[in-house]
């Protein structure tokens, strides 16, 4: 009876191993498709997007300094951090300012690439003129918000917080220029009327004189632009300029779009300014130099070491050594299956975590073979706590290489505890009581 139980467990291990290493093939649309999820590899193993940014030739020589290149590099880093990018490397050529950004290839990469060169400049300029009235440096930070009216219509706003200098400047602009949406609309409407009046064939001197007077009284218009696009100013309160993003609407698709625009603009303006203009030279998907063959050679080397350990265990512990070796294979199979389905991205650090997990499992199996007492178990677990702490801290790290290590260690340790209690210990108990 006990022999049958042992054989059953071994057959189950063989089945799981076949699934983990071979797969489950089901006929789908006249071809055999492996239904077992494939591994998700990190950037260093899979490859990623490489974006090369070069200094725009139109920049003056005076601003082409190492200091400015460093500022741009820091701004890019800040933008990527704010966007939640979890895996990137940035290099800077301090001689010519070329910046190379390596990003993980996923559904967000194109968004990140857009933000690398997007202009986040905030300024108020006199209409049809290069006269800058309020510059970027006078804006401290930007946020966004939205309001709803009784009819369920939403209006999205951006709020630009000004520095002290900016506050003084905006007062001056308010007095001398038409800046609010309604003022600008009024002036533009009266201009249209004047054009119609001038087009009339009958000459009316009084009308002409009146038109000339009106021209003198009409204030100049000042326009606000954020990231190159014009926006209407709704309100100015003390140190905040409230800017309308889109129209008031109850259509949720439009509202969501306007909110996304506001988020994007806030991110651009809050992450810092580019003191020098850059342009994108290259934007390419580049595969890793680590080939499948190299990964296979590494896996074979690890398998060879494990095989040698198995032989040593069988020689030393005979039948018990064989059972533990078979159980170890089952452990590896379950670990690999869990990594596929737990949405864990396997980076180079993650592969290191797999190796550490295998070592820890071997230590636990050795303790089981030597008939470790409860106290000895407790001792091993106590010593494993630092590893558990490290894996938990790393799991929550934003850097995907580290979180890969942490997640794999976490799953590995969990499977070690559960699997060895459920399978390895059971096999050894059945063997001893035969």
């Amino acid at each position: 009876m006990k022999t049958i139980k042992i054989i059953t467990i071994i057959l189950a291990i063989i089945l799981i191993t076949m699934i983990a290493f071979g797969g489950v093939y089901i006929r789908t649309q006249n071809r055999m498709e492996n239904k077992v999820k494939s591994y998700d590899f990190g950037r260093e193993i899979k490859g990623g997007r490489i974006v090369e940014l070069k200094v725009n030739d139109e920049n003056n020589e005076e601003i082409r300094t190492q200091e400015n290149y460093e500022i741009v590099k820091k701004t890019i880093e800040q933008r990527l951090k704010n966007l939640g990018a979890q895996d990137y490397t940035i290099s800077l050529n301090t001689t010519d300012g070329t910046i190379v950004v390596e990003l993980e290839e996923n559904s967000n990469t194109d968004t990140y690439v857009y933000f690398l060169t997007a202009d986040g400049k905030v300024q108020i300029k006199e209409e049809d003129s290069e006269n800058e009235l309020l510059s970027d440096e006078m804006v401290k930070k930007t946020t966004y918000t939205y309001t709803a009216n009784a009819e369920g219509e939403y209006q999205v706003y951006m709020e630009l917080y000004l520095t002290e200098e900016g506050q003084a400047k905006i007062e001056e602009i308010k007095n001398n220029y038409a800046i609010f949406e309604d003022e600008v609309e009024e002036i533009e409407a009266s201009r249209e009327d004047e054009e119609e009046t001038e087009n009339e064939e009958t000459e009316n001197v009084e009308t002409t004189e009146q038109t000339e007077e009106n021209n003198e009284e009409t204030r100049k218009i000042a326009k606000l632009t954020i990231a190159g696009s014009e926006y209407s100013i709704d309100k100015i309160e003390k140190d905040v300029i409230r800017v309308k993003i889109g129209d008031e609407t109850s259509n949720t698709t439009y509202v969501n779009n306007y909110i996304n625009i506001a988020i994007e603009l806030a991110l651009l303006t809050n992450s810092g300014k580019y003191p020098i203009e850059y342009e994108m030279e290259n934007n390419r998907l580049v595969y890793s130099d680590i080939t499948n063959k190299q990964l296979l050679y590494f896996a074979i080397s690890v398998a060879a070491v494990i095989f040698i350990i198995f032989i040593a265990l069988i020689i030393q512990y005979k039948m018990k050594g064989l059972l533990v070796s078979l159980s170890y294979i089952g452990f590896i199979s379950i670990l690999l299956l869990v990594l596929r389905y737990a949405n864990v991205s396997i980076s180079i650090e993650g592969i290191g975590a797999i190796v550490v997990t295998l070592i820890i499992n071997f230590i636990v199996n050795k303790a089981l073979l030597e008939g470790a007492t409860h106290t000895e178990y407790k001792n091993v677990l106590l010593k494993l706590m630092p590893v558990i702490i490290i894996s938990l801290v790393f799991s929550f790290a934003k850097w995907s290489n580290l979180s890969s290590f942490g997640m794999i260690m976490f799953w590995g340790l969990l499977i070690i505890v559960i699997y060895n209690l459920a399978v390895t210990k059971t096999l050894l108990k059945l063997k001893e009581s035969k």
Binding site: T89, T98, V100, L382, I389, I390
Partner: protein
Amino acid sequence: MKQKSKNIILIAIIGLIIIAGITVISVWGFNKELRYSESKKIEIYVEQQVDVELVKSIADEVLGMHNMVQTIEIYRDMVTIRAIDITEEQRNTIINKLKENYEFEQTAEETDIVIVPVTRIRDMYKQYIMPFVISAILVVAYTLVIYYKKGILKVLRNVILIPIIAELLLLSWMAIVRFPIGRITPVFIILVYIASVWYAMNRIEK
């Protein structure tokens, strides 16, 4: 006495290695992996899916073993070859050898040798610092709680000093033997940290 002299010898060896490592780092710095070093690259549009192994063998022949070959774009019909230095002659040889195996239009004269900027060590690893520091603090706190009966100073001495010395040894060894610092370095640092904490806990128990 014998044990004491053994300990002194061990400490002396460790000290020498660390001093040698610091000297090498001060004079020559670390040896960085190619992908993080200042290097040169050429990009070749081969117009068909490329056999990376073949291109790598050509690159190894012309540029020596220290090179990097990567395929580009979704159809892998373009390849980038990177090395510390690529001369015009080497570029021409690579293009000619590739043309023996593939038909494509790009000529050697049309292939620019581009400088790839260096990635600084702090940019490579700054993301690791905070999680490492947090986990180290938590591990120290944990060992203090478990082993407080053994003496707080003894615990602190072991669980802080031993990992620090182990990491310094590792970095010194990497600097002295010119082991390339790159993608695999954090793995070694984490493994050495785990092993050194394990060793420190064993020492405290004894």
